[in-house]
Amino acid sequence: MKTMQLYKALGLTDSEYVEILKRLGREPNELETYLFSAMWSEHCGYKHSRKYLSIFPSGGAVSHGENAGGVQIGEHVIVFKVESHNHPSAVEPFQGAATGIGGIVRDILAIGARPIALLDSLKFGKITNNFSKHIFDGVVHGISHYGNCIGVPTVGGEVAFDEAYTDSPLVNVMCVGIVRKDKIRSAAAEAGNVVIAVGSHTGRDGIHGASFASKELNEKSKEDRPSVQIGDPFTKKVLIEATLEILELQEVQSCQDFGAAGLLSSSSEMAFKGECGIDLHLDKVHLREEGMQPWEIMLSESQERMLFVVKQNGVDKVLKIAEKYDIPASIIGETTTHGRYRLFWHGKNVADLPPESLAEGPKYAINEQEPIYIKQYAESKLTKTTPIKNAVEKIVSDPNFASKKWVYRQYDHTVGTRTAIKPGDAGAAGIWIHEEGGVVGITIDSNPRQVFLNPYEGGRYSIWEACRNLISGGFEPLGMTNCLNYGNPEKDEVAYQFVKSVEGLAQGCKEAGIPVASGNVSFYNESPERRVYPTPSIGIVGYVDSPKKMVKSSFNAGETLILIGKDIEETSNVGGSLYQRAFYDFVGGKIDVVDAKLELQLKKILFSLRDSGFISGCVDVSEGGLFGAVFEGVKKANTGFIGNLISINDHEKALFGEITGRYVISTGNSLIVEEFLKLNGVSYRKLGKCEDKKFEFDGYSFDLAKLYDLYDNSIDLEMNE
């Protein structure tokens, strides 16, 4: 095919092709056209998002702009990043999710860090839908299969079910690693070194994966066979150990993982970041299949491969380590001072480009006009109500609120002997950092309905809700990572959602004082019938310097419960609350606006109470509202509650309405705590007392055993029926 026709077939636009001609001063050859099409795809090139992501604050983050970023704790850096594997998981849930884990682990590894924890943020269609069930089952199985096998505990995450995700499920996975500060590796290469590929043989799998991830899903996607890869966690586990051993070598100058667009992306980024040239001899790459062409070798997304740039005198050492682990390795090129990105095929120069022309693709501005739905939805009102007894049973058995044990029971969450807070124990997971003596708290969270109703405020809302997960456990939030899942950014509505929510997220991070260390963007999560809610998954990492300072999120019998922060009023905006969606299929109204000053004050107060030991439990109030927070806290201690929760006429809103800026705490010293709150001018309300076997409030009483049973078993029943 002439390259003129080829570029269109590969998804490059006319204007992009003109841009390529301009940059090269000539026509690209066929191979070069392939290279541009992959590197300038949305997935690799971030062409619709790069312009906007630059507003994220990054000051204070370590390794920002590398494969993953992190925050410093003592002598160590905790590295973290989220990545999406939405599109592959929609077509092949098991392998799609498994290779998602494989991919994010490689990013952490490329920094030189040992992966110590995984989290996942999952979104599916309604659990009652058979297709969604199938995807849900497969995705969880895939994560369990891969994560368990490589021995990295999956310690937390979130799972939500909503019709909006029926055609485009979201599978976001987060990995956290640890590395000594002085051992961090960069992807930037220096001239005069040897390039070595280590790991699995390169095959024809995943070719075009990058452009596939940048497409809307339709019926034909099922036939996109080579775009989905098979994960090999066994080889990955061995590769992790081999890579960490190789990175101990002084002679290793830089390291990159093979991610989207495989060898092409990893090697061109190394050259670009290091401002050096690179010569690759593609016939030297170890291949799995015969007859592979240069473009296939460059674009293959075969899993479980790493790329190293090594000083001449370290080459043998690297090869020896690979041999010990029975992993294939080959010397495939060298870094040079000529500053060009050159490919050779049996000695013949087949591509010759400036690295920046690949790495720095086009940047597009997108529409930022407010779409009409925003006003319409803001003005819509909910008029229906449910008797409170039914409502309570409904919320505890709703799969969005109910226990996710069915999921995390399948994840090995204790391997590594670091898990200080297990899934299901609290809003954040806890990983013991014995190297420094404290515990890292990790959460991944999202508020898609709120972001949908008000992208900017929804962005701030999401940041603070994630922060509250950490703060309630006693952790100081330190750094953020994100995965931004949206529909097609070329459509006005989506463009607005994206731009405004990114602004809101950035603002939220500034208010919370946390840098954005890393992130990922996934567009085109829509089908002709449905589009996902704008769903930024927010991962936040925090720290507490001693395990003893962690605050439990269980409320014990005999303790008093106190609500601190905002209280629901008749005029409170509770748009986006789960109960509205779950009971009435309603998404509308206004969302509550975060009061950052209050949030910071509450953090300070909670940490003082934590340090003085007067508070024994704390739960942030989120999905399920005040009722949800109280129920979850007492459930964890297997006790009950007697008191008053309802403050306004609309009982449903009082119990389940979601607003920001509040926590429920439990204490055995309520007098002292109340005195302290008054002294500091924090508004609070005493709710009642925890008492075994009872669940009563405001004249309503419930069969506690039944509620617990519904909460524990709803998802199980749905999946095993």
């Binding site: 099922k222 098979i230 075969s302």
Partner: protein
């Protein structure tokens, strides 16, 4: 309604990597049992399927194979045996 028994073999499509097969290969080689065995692994199923007649039952079996037992994205299947019970 007639009832049939079917055997089905599901294998990975050409070009798709088979990590399990590769691991067995490594072990066979290590132990010296067999140098290059080119092991490829697959799944085997036996099941009963009902239908008004053979065509109908076979169509149903096809759906089962495509929708449940295999994923056409990665795998292909073969009906190895199909007999009336």
């Amino acid at each position: 309604m007639k009832k049939y028994k079917a055997d089905i073999i599901v294998t990975l499509k050409k070009g798709v990597r088979d990590p399990q097969g590769a691991a067995v290969d490594t072990v066979l080689k290590r132990t010296g049992i067999q140098e290059i065995a080119q092991v490829q692994t697959g799944k085997f199923f036996t099941l009963d399927v009902t239908g008004s007649d053979e065509t109908n039952a076979k169509a149903k079996l096809d759906t089962i194979c495509r929708e449940v037992l295999s994923n056409p994205v990665l795998e292909s299947y073969k009906v190895e045996r199909f007999v009336e019970l």
